[in-house]
Point group: C2
Chain length 222, copies 2
DNA sequence: CGCCGGGTGGTACCGCGGTACTACGCGCCG
DNA sequence: CGGCGCGTAGTACCGCGGTACCACCCGGCG
């Protein structure tokens, strides 16, 4: 039996979900909340398997509530529901740590399948949104651990040279790298020169780009 | 009626899909292929709505076949199927342009729902894989159009300065930028200097990092 | 033993990158 | 009209980055 907390500011909407889910043998609505703050509280109290979260709500919205629930670290998974497939919502929800994002016009069996998946530790995205997610995914995400291993340029780097490349990717000058690695700047220059030669970069700027392309450097680091 | 091309090197597997799909009122198997090369050919001939593509095949594998089919630009969508949820496959398939990725142990209704979604221009990912996709997505994808707009540094750039920043992100030297923009190198230097000051970067290396962080520069461009 | 690769270090040189400051034409707006 | 933001352009200066070349130490290996 999967326990569910229904969060929506509209009472009628909550009622609809309750009727639907309680009529199913595998799901049970154990509580409701009408806003984000209440959702966070009741999640802590009831520890439901799944929180069915509406986005648009007065006060603390569904995104912020999701963030707090996820950060609290409980075992409850959040499945975000919205009427509007606005990109901003999807991005924000997924970054907040939601395990799923479905549209309210989903068919009951889709909703059930989503709840089942989320409860099982998996994640779901409405097909209508998956398209856009994938487009961005393909654009931004390097190549997993695919290209890096295949790329002979990266493989030809020694351990030390890879460290140097990562340091370059952090935007450090040769002097800063020397200081952090506790070696002389001459040594750093030697390494940098070899790195550039091996990866086929003209200067450290192109080395940074190379590092980002292969996922050696990542946003938010350094 | 949704037309489907079944691609799998195992004859028994193809037979299974054919029986399943032909028994459904809304889908019809219009052809089969036993390897990647044949899949590309028959897709061009038959122009199916959906190509059900196995990954592991002798010769041209499913990933490469997907890439070719997508690049050909027809209206056929590729739904990749595999027995093993290996990360490499998922990444590669999605980057190759697949509209979906499901596991072969999916229940028939899931498969049907997937085919329906893909045929309708949407995309699907098996819930078991979506979790990992989302984790990487949240890590790598900037913040949609969120953070960039919020960041006053980026907002303070003029149109021209943003162009300059993108050019820096491509790894171009001041001279190259001047040539491509058909202005003098002095002008470029002036712009670069202002960009660095506005975004708080010490040199163009940090500017590149800034550009990647905000999604202004992307892997694979330039 | 000698050789070799990798890490370390140094010297010398030059050019691109970055800064500081000035300047002019243009379009917009009070 | 005068001011201002923006794009353009120039000069002068200096330092970091990158290259070329050489050198030493150390560990592994034939």
């Amino acid at each position: 039996m999967t326990t569910v907390l229904v969060v929506d500011d509209q009472q009628l909407q909550r009622y609809g979900f309750r009727v639907l889910l309680d009529s199913m043998p595998e799901t049970e609505v154990v509580g409701e909340a009408a806003n984000g703050a209440e959702a966070v509280r009741r999640t802590a109290e009831l520890r439901p398997d799944v929180v069915l979260m509406d986005v648009r709500m007065p006060g603390v919205d569904g995104i912020e509530a999701t963030r707090r629930i996820v950060e609290a670290g409980g075992r409850s998974r959040v499945l975000v529901l919205t009427t509007f497939d606005v990109d901003e919502y999807v991005h924000a929800a997924l970054r907040a740590g939601a395990s799923g994002f479905l549209l309210k016009d989903a068919r009951p069996e889709e909703l059930l399948a989503g709840i089942r998946a989320v409860a099982g530790g998996d994640a779901v995205i409405a097909p209508a949104l998956t398209r856009r997610i994938l487009d961005e995914y393909a654009r931004y995400v390097p190549t997993g651990r695919n290209a890096p291993d295949e790329d002979p340029r990266l493989a030809s780097l020694t351990e030390r040279e890879r460290e140097i490349l990562v340091a370059i990717g952090k935007g450090w000058t040769n002097g800063e790298i020397a200081a952090r690695f506790v070696v002389s700047e001459s040594t750093v220059k030697t390494h940098v020169g070899r790195v550039l030669a091996k990866i086929g970069a003209r200067d450290r700027v192109q080395a940074v780009i190379f590092a980002y392309d292969r996922g050696l450097a990542r946003p938010g680091a350094g």
